[in-house]
């Protein structure tokens, strides 16, 4: 574990009744309090928000998408302009994904060989070859604090052979990524795959841990399987991962998913849900979501949440409904701010509950109120 000492993860408290962990991850651009939620800034911006609005939600790490940024404006241009932090004006930590999931979900995927993936850009149809080494080079050009290994993502359902083939290839690609991950101020996280099969997951985790990375992500979840299946996989995978390194559940999820993930030992999450749902007029609250176009809000003078410090909660529900009914950009902006603030506050409450050894009670409470 020589690498990880460069990016210390302080495990400052373990909850007495669950597997929840309270930590601090030290990265080149700052410290991340875990459990942490990472807002998604796909194209060099958290959609609809200025950087100071993102900061106002309390975020201390963002996610950037390697696939999108490499196509437009290109990682070369971002490198020329001083890297992604400077380009978007964000001076706190950034994690970049590897592009694996987006190649699979957005690009017109032609072929995966042992060498790499070939796909067509969703922007202009150009044929692009992406090897694990390319993904690392791009992420080095972006200059993120945490780079992710390129993994081979496949469509589900798939045969067990196909799942294993892609998983084994992902391990080999992870090793190639580590070989070229020479940027001293960039951490490298591996991605555990293996579908819903706990044996595969355990084997994948073991292989990756033996290679050694700065942190471990759990991929291939929240792709349509029932929540209980996801929780079952987390129950199986987390014990296979090093206790003294951060664990990141990719692309997850609902507020309850986060709280359930934390209970099983996950430290980091990312998801477009708070911003995407916000743009679609859905506001998260501690008592469940509100659909802000509903007529019940027409004359409602209350804020979304009485105790929320965000900018949206300086306005009435009636005003926010009006903005959506009038198709005003400010509606999506305000709900994105609110929802990111809600996610951050939820993680703050989770951290406090862990510190006070009452995470199980907090989890039970969330299961009641958030459902």
């Amino acid at each position: 574990m020589v690498r990880s000492s460069r990016f210390p993860f302080d495990l400052i408290h373990k909850d007495a009744g669950t597997h929840a962990r309270r930590g601090r991850l030290h990265l080149p651009h700052g410290m991340v309090e875990t459990p942490a939620f990472m807002p998604v800034g796909t194209q060099g911006t958290v959609k609809g928000l200025t950087i100071d609005q993102v900061q106002s939600t309390g975020a201390d790490i963002l996610l950037g998408n390697t696939y999108h940024l490499s196509l437009r404006p290109t990682s070369e241009l971002i490198a020329e302009l001083g890297g992604l932090h400077r380009f978007m004006g964000w001076d706190k930590p950034i994690l970049t994904d590897s592009g694996g999931f987006q190649i699979f979900s957005l690009g017109d995927l032609n072929k995966v060989t042992e060498v790499g993936a070939t796909f067509k850009s969703h922007l202009n149809g150009a044929t692009i070859h992406l090897k694990p080494e390319d993904s690392m080079r791009i992420q080095q050009e972006l200059g993120s604090d945490i780079a992710m290994v390129l993994d081979h993502v496949i469509a589900l359902p798939a045969t067990d052979d196909a799942v294993l083939d892609a998983m084994d290839r992902s391990v080999r690609w992870a090793e190639r990524c580590k070989t070229v991950a020479t940027k001293p101020d960039q951490a490298l996280f591996a991605i555990v795959q293996g579908g819903l099969n706990l044996d595969h997951r355990a084997r994948c985790a073991e292989a990756l841990v033996s290679i050694g990375f700065d942190g471990y992500a759990i991929g291939g979840l929240s792709v349509g399987e029932p929540p209980l299946e996801m929780y079952r996989v987390l129950d199986g995978v987390c014990p296979c991962l090093p206790e003294d390194q951060p664990r990141y559940l990719m692309g997850v999820g609902t507020p309850l998913d986060l709280v359930e993930g934390v209970a099983r030992g996950v430290d980091m999450f990312d998801c477009v849900m708070p911003t995407r749902n916000g743009r679609n007029a859905l506001a998260f609250t501690a008592n469940g979501p509100l659909k802000m176009r509903n007529s019940c809000h027409t004359r409602d003078d209350r804020p979304l949440e009485e105790d929320c410090p965000c900018l949206a909660c300086k306005h009435s529900r009636a005003y926010i409904r009006h903005l959506f009914m009038a198709d005003e950009m400010l509606g999506p902006t305000l709900l994105s701010i609110h929802n990111l603030t809600f996610y951050r506050r939820l993680m703050s409450r989770a951290r406090q509950a862990i510190e006070e050894n009452r995470y199980d009670a907090f989890l039970q409470e969330c299961r009641q109120s958030l459902a």
Copy 2:
């Protein structure tokens, strides 16, 4: 002039070489430094901006649109929720227009009689009757600091008879508005019409001044006539208006239009140009506008304007171009902030030039640099 003493307009300096005036207009929600530009908040929001972003541009008065707000969410609802200031969270002055121009330009106008206008809503086709008294009631419900009289706006070109008929009706409607303008903390401005004919304009101004209002607007300009024609009308109209009351040129205009208007004695302006053009990727600068989708900005690390304090100018031109090329909401937001800041700074510079008796030199400089 009993009314105007309620809303004092301090004429604190007159430029020595032009008709430019430096003033302060005292309104219930605060003081407006003139010459002033009013950002447009059509539907209870300056499009794409939070209230604190609007404040950050230095605006000290906003314009709200009576036509839009009366249709959605309705003035009754806004009144129930405490008025437009509280509804949108803006505690500085607001001017509301009367709806006359929007009925003409957006609604499907059926008929104007001496009683009022009948039109169909552009939202749902509902038939709406709007009398001058209705416009005043709506503006009282909105609770603006300055209400505008309802005027009869006609399509141009029109016969001289039609221009005069609509102008005379507008004067009679203005008188009816004054009769019902009983809200003690709301100023009422009249609107001088009369097309491009200086005799008509002078006659209209004289009739309105003899009725007596808290300020006088100049309407029916910037509707397609050449700029020099507009300046000629301003040259003719401004001397017909009381020197000790504010003059407001409605719906104008380009940065140069503002500077030319100030030179002729105009104190207040409003226009969607900074926000609408900003949403369409045009950035105003002291050296003329920039089209931010142009490829010349691709690798440009400079801000839009080196000395601009706005949020957009913390980013590079390359980043702002990227946001527009990627169709990100943040592009329109940042350019709206920049353009409103540019308009406010232009008016600040104009005010300073007046105070220092060098407005003519400032005007000449603007004619060179802004064109």
